[in-house]
Symmetry: D4
Subunit: 224 residues, 8 copies
Amino acid sequence: MPDLGFAKVDIGRFRRQGVPEVVYGEGKNAAQIGDILSVLRAEGQLPAIATRVDVAKARILKRRLGREFQYFADARLVRLGKARKPDGAGTVAVAAAGTSDIPVAEEAALVAETFGNSVERFYDVGVAGLDRLLSCVDALASASVVVAVAGMEGALASVIGGLVPCPVVAVPTSVGYGASLGGVSALLAMLNSCAAGVSVVNVDNGFGAGILAHKINHTGARQR
Amino acid sequence: MPDLGFAKVDIGRFRRQGVPEVVYGEGKNAAQIGDILSVLRAEGQLPAIATRVDVAKARILKRRLGREFQYFADARLVRLGKARKPDGAGTVAVAAAGTSDIPVAEEAALVAETFGNSVERFYDVGVAGLDRLLSCVDALASASVVVAVAGMEGALASVIGGLVPCPVVAVPTSVGYGASLGGVSALLAMLNSCAAGVSVVNVDNGFGAGILAHKINHTGARQR
Amino acid sequence: MPDLGFAKVDIGRFRRQGVPEVVYGEGKNAAQIGDILSVLRAEGQLPAIATRVDVAKARILKRRLGREFQYFADARLVRLGKARKPDGAGTVAVAAAGTSDIPVAEEAALVAETFGNSVERFYDVGVAGLDRLLSCVDALASASVVVAVAGMEGALASVIGGLVPCPVVAVPTSVGYGASLGGVSALLAMLNSCAAGVSVVNVDNGFGAGILAHKINHTGARQR
Amino acid sequence: MPDLGFAKVDIGRFRRQGVPEVVYGEGKNAAQIGDILSVLRAEGQLPAIATRVDVAKARILKRRLGREFQYFADARLVRLGKARKPDGAGTVAVAAAGTSDIPVAEEAALVAETFGNSVERFYDVGVAGLDRLLSCVDALASASVVVAVAGMEGALASVIGGLVPCPVVAVPTSVGYGASLGGVSALLAMLNSCAAGVSVVNVDNGFGAGILAHKINHTGARQR
Amino acid sequence: MPDLGFAKVDIGRFRRQGVPEVVYGEGKNAAQIGDILSVLRAEGQLPAIATRVDVAKARILKRRLGREFQYFADARLVRLGKARKPDGAGTVAVAAAGTSDIPVAEEAALVAETFGNSVERFYDVGVAGLDRLLSCVDALASASVVVAVAGMEGALASVIGGLVPCPVVAVPTSVGYGASLGGVSALLAMLNSCAAGVSVVNVDNGFGAGILAHKINHTGARQR
Amino acid sequence: MPDLGFAKVDIGRFRRQGVPEVVYGEGKNAAQIGDILSVLRAEGQLPAIATRVDVAKARILKRRLGREFQYFADARLVRLGKARKPDGAGTVAVAAAGTSDIPVAEEAALVAETFGNSVERFYDVGVAGLDRLLSCVDALASASVVVAVAGMEGALASVIGGLVPCPVVAVPTSVGYGASLGGVSALLAMLNSCAAGVSVVNVDNGFGAGILAHKINHTGARQR
Amino acid sequence: MPDLGFAKVDIGRFRRQGVPEVVYGEGKNAAQIGDILSVLRAEGQLPAIATRVDVAKARILKRRLGREFQYFADARLVRLGKARKPDGAGTVAVAAAGTSDIPVAEEAALVAETFGNSVERFYDVGVAGLDRLLSCVDALASASVVVAVAGMEGALASVIGGLVPCPVVAVPTSVGYGASLGGVSALLAMLNSCAAGVSVVNVDNGFGAGILAHKINHTGARQR
Amino acid sequence: MPDLGFAKVDIGRFRRQGVPEVVYGEGKNAAQIGDILSVLRAEGQLPAIATRVDVAKARILKRRLGREFQYFADARLVRLGKARKPDGAGTVAVAAAGTSDIPVAEEAALVAETFGNSVERFYDVGVAGLDRLLSCVDALASASVVVAVAGMEGALASVIGGLVPCPVVAVPTSVGYGASLGGVSALLAMLNSCAAGVSVVNVDNGFGAGILAHKINHTGARQR
């Protein structure tokens, strides 16, 4: 077998630079999450985040990690260390259709805030109550990027997409029942948005939307 | 085998009363369509309608059926005899998201008109251009029933559903590509509408929506 | 960023008028549901409804809300205040195929009753026992609107659609197993109904069907 | 490699006995179909059938195969040789919902007839016109087996299943559009039939239903 | 509203004759099941069956229903009264691919036995161990009807369908994981069987297969 | 019906500002496309684009529109007027997996170029030939945004997402067969990307990806 | 942007070694296919293969490429240059269920032969005619690897998987209709095979199966 | 009924030879698993394996089976007796994308080891961190066969398939959420791999992949 001669370049080091560490908490116990966060702190890599952490695990982690620990129950998210100072081009707007969509929206918002973005929240602005949505359209339209979070028919992404000049990151949620197919109906609707400038992430993927919003809001910063 | 003793009641006669005859033209040739329409005329059952009739068949039918014949190319619909006089409770509003949705919308509108309904059309009011939709919301809100026709993400039905007090009949269309899955994505979205008062018919089923709108607009008439 | 100049019209106020408030109880605890209902009572907005409330929550709510509180266990529905007096054009008929479909049917029936409709129930009239269905066809055919509730193959909607002149609101239920796909098979069947005048709401959406039936039965009233 | 020692029994000979040869014509040209039918005639294996043969191929075959050749255009079926004399337990009833379902129904009927069954046809008995179906329920109920052919929502199988004591072979057809999903919706509905005694074959598989009906109608004959 | 004039014929009485009563136990508690069975006994309608009854409910029912009560744990089936004497044309063969398919197979077998059929069982004859299947092919081939029960890829139905002259009732089961899609993969495979004479019932529907096998085995009896 | 009092704000004017006009050519004939482009030229709204225009229509359009007309056969795209000068934050990189993906990639590239972006193309860099992809990773990593175009398994988006710090807009294509399900498999894979910072547009939606890339690359410009 | 420092290793050169070049002919015209094959010949890289080439293109190619050109019409495959001498561990067996599956089977067989494998073909051995399959089980069982090609229910893979000790490469084909879902049903069945040692490639992917069979048959050769 | 005359050959004995016995533990209790393993030990058929055994059952089994018992918690796998000495052509490489994929990967690795293969593990080499994967490409490329285990978008299989000359057995896992559809998205992606030489087993089927890898690695041994 010939030596393929791959240089052992540290792509990983490159890949990680610029974004804080994020621990996906689903399927990990409190000890495992705590271990990773402790290492990151020891290495000076704060702020660090753990997502999908329930209240029970959060209590254990709080006792172990102490002063720098913060738990955001709505978003089921743990943060160790302070959020970075906002240094993006503008604001990240996070819009959510219904109250049941807020956990996903909060995950996106907190991830973006932690990474150094000024975040504005617009909750309960689903299209069935168009007046609430229209009352905040000026604010949405002046953001760098809008994260649009909705379950059921997911129409929020299309309506916002038609109203704002910036990119819209659409996050379908699993909110709904029956023909919502666990969020797949909202996902399909968002992919078929008649408004240009809308792209989509996985169902309930608030974390991914937060990262992406951060990256878009820092487009200029990366180029300088 | 015992005699089941079913009385030979003419449910069929009952079923047909009140609504004009409609011929589903798909898969029938001009001769077949012409035969049925001729019989209906002979029986005094005008106006009668044939749906999904292309231009070539329409030309043949015109020559055969003469003066009372009308062809609506957009809707691919043939009507023999005049539309009934409008005698419903109010107006049937037909809204369509994009120009590609117009054939389905016209089918619904013409069916409703033929059956005796005053119809108002609101085309090119897709949610990506919310201003056009909002400019006709007063008119929509005062209708007896709104038929909302849209492909792609089908958000029009939810947005209208949140703005009007009357029933909304949502018609998904096969307009779109890729993840639109031939109209199934719009269909799913409409079924998950966050607005109450929205119900859905099959993809591209303008005819069914027109009948249903007629029936809703004549609710009071049936009860008197 | 230019001012978009949206007038801050209260679409919301409009949207809500005419229909009582409904609280979607799924995923809310008794305290949350109680809070909303208490506010509505304080604002004089009774009758109000909460759907998908289990027995345990209902007990807590009963203690808190007192005399005006009613719980309908079959429908898992809470009502605060008395139903409005029936003032629609005619009767809302609610038909259910099997005993397992009754919870969804009852949700539709109670919502319609609360909103001011005279409701007639026809349960256990699935098409496998056609005699029971035929024995009530006169009553069904004289209703303003029929709500047809069925799981499994959902044939009830088509059969009723062929027998009555009024609109049929079809509600697929998740009753079934295997190839019923959680109600999607019944949903698809109903969307493909060979009878005109049938439209469909989401799986198990008794609430939506009840609202829609109410709106159809009040078509004339809105126009006056 | 050890010798597995399979006895070379002629399962094939066994398998074929009792049922005439059937050539699946789809994707075969006239020459290929003609060759097979000629061989079967030479071997004395008539009657033989070829299914899914269009008119053009049928013309060529007619010229080649001569007197014993018969073409059934509705069913797109070729038969060489006369049908066997009916010798089953009773009648095979073939019911079809709409005119578009007749080709599949005829394929089933002709296959059963050729194999030696007395066949009774009941066409245009879809559930939207329940009176026509009810007018022939006595005849259906006294058959040995009913083949129920329907597209769209496929409700015919369930309704017949509730009315007759014999097995019902349900054949979904690809008749429909949009959410009919090429016959899959009818297929799913039939699999979920609330009536016991219904089983299902593939979409448009009239041939398979005809064979199965033949086998059921000859249950006693096989046992003697 | 005109009187539709339906004769109130007792289709129901007809429908039920010839087959014992069956109670679908899923979602019913022991008290409900016991009530129905008690009524049936009082009316002299034994044997009666309840399907999908777990051990806990069975214990309660046993205490209440006494001597005539039988519980078949494998099939989760309760029978009140003795099975009828076999009076069909021949034998009902029930074949199951793996041990996990036995509960569904037993449900089919016990239903058929109770209704008056001689049943032969062939378990653990999946196609991966073809020798076991081949060793019982003579017995299968001489049955009146074969019920073929299999999960995973469901190949058993096709292989048996190629070996026997009688009808094959294929029952897909939910045995499997991942791409088995809860039994839908086996269902699809069985619907596409390359062997003629195979029809399919819903996933895990042993009860339906048992009834159908009974009806096929009594084809001659119904005609006399 | 009360006046809802919507201010007639010109949301549309706002919505369109900043992005050139784009005509979706699918389903429009040359005359229709030519009319729209002519109006846009008359209104001074160049450059303007028409997508999904085949060669035949392009020839007709060229004759009519003259000097400013350009046709890009690979992308099936017409442009009237010159591309704007690049004024974004950096480069838009467009990567395509195989040669069959180039039409979609070119649509994205040309749309972005026309809107005023410097575009770099990286074609034939599918993951099965990782060396080609790795040889251009420096260039990809220094872009403002990467558009990743791939059919079949769509792995390109994930691999690039792991290598670059900027947002990745993933475009699944309908390239493939069988289990590619018309591009849906690639779409699903991209939505499940294990790399953060990846979002997805509809199958074959090069146009949408081009617009989105433009918006991301102009994030800073909008905020100034 | 830091230099990522990837060594520019020629992974591609490595990747290609050992297997002849294969041109995927779908969507390429005769000129394009001819160009690639000519270059390969000039580089001394024969034998080379082009798949999915129809007769018309093959004729053009034959004229251009001359003596070394071979066209296999069944497999729609072009080969330039002679097949390598068989040098694998043993035989590659290719089994196909029906005559309609032969094109895919031949593609697999010819690819394997060209790459230097002794191939044995077993066609028309579908499970509905088990005798034919059993008559060749000794030969199948002594192969190095079996390629099992089948459409419809795809049971062939499971049955062979239970009979042979070597790996089975299952190739579902798009042969079938209705619920075969274009080959997806066979694909799902094969993935759920109850026999260990079966793996699956994409629908109609004879080429991929041929390559894989070659690689398995040369396992030992690679290690020496 | 004629005697079909099947020789009662012991295909089963043949089928089992060469591979140790494997007990599928899902749905069996500790007693049942223990009984089978005890019999196998008594018959001298060690090593034997039981898969999908949780910790609780493992504890009971350990007490019963004693010294030869081994439990591998990660893989949820029990082994009785020592692994065979490696005697294959080369190494079986098992690569896993993320930590959540390790249980499935370990099942594959342990099955292969037990059957007499030298196994090398490469874990946490998902494509989002391409450097880790590239650092082990030499080792992967010199294996006899690679088992590639990945959930989410399953890109690992394609990337490895493009880098190694040997067969790749792709195992999709159910790791993921939302649009991962329980592993079906990864499955579809792997089936559409643009790299030749990749075949796929069912979701989470580590066992099947281990067997297949064993068979490929022993290709030469079977032929000698």
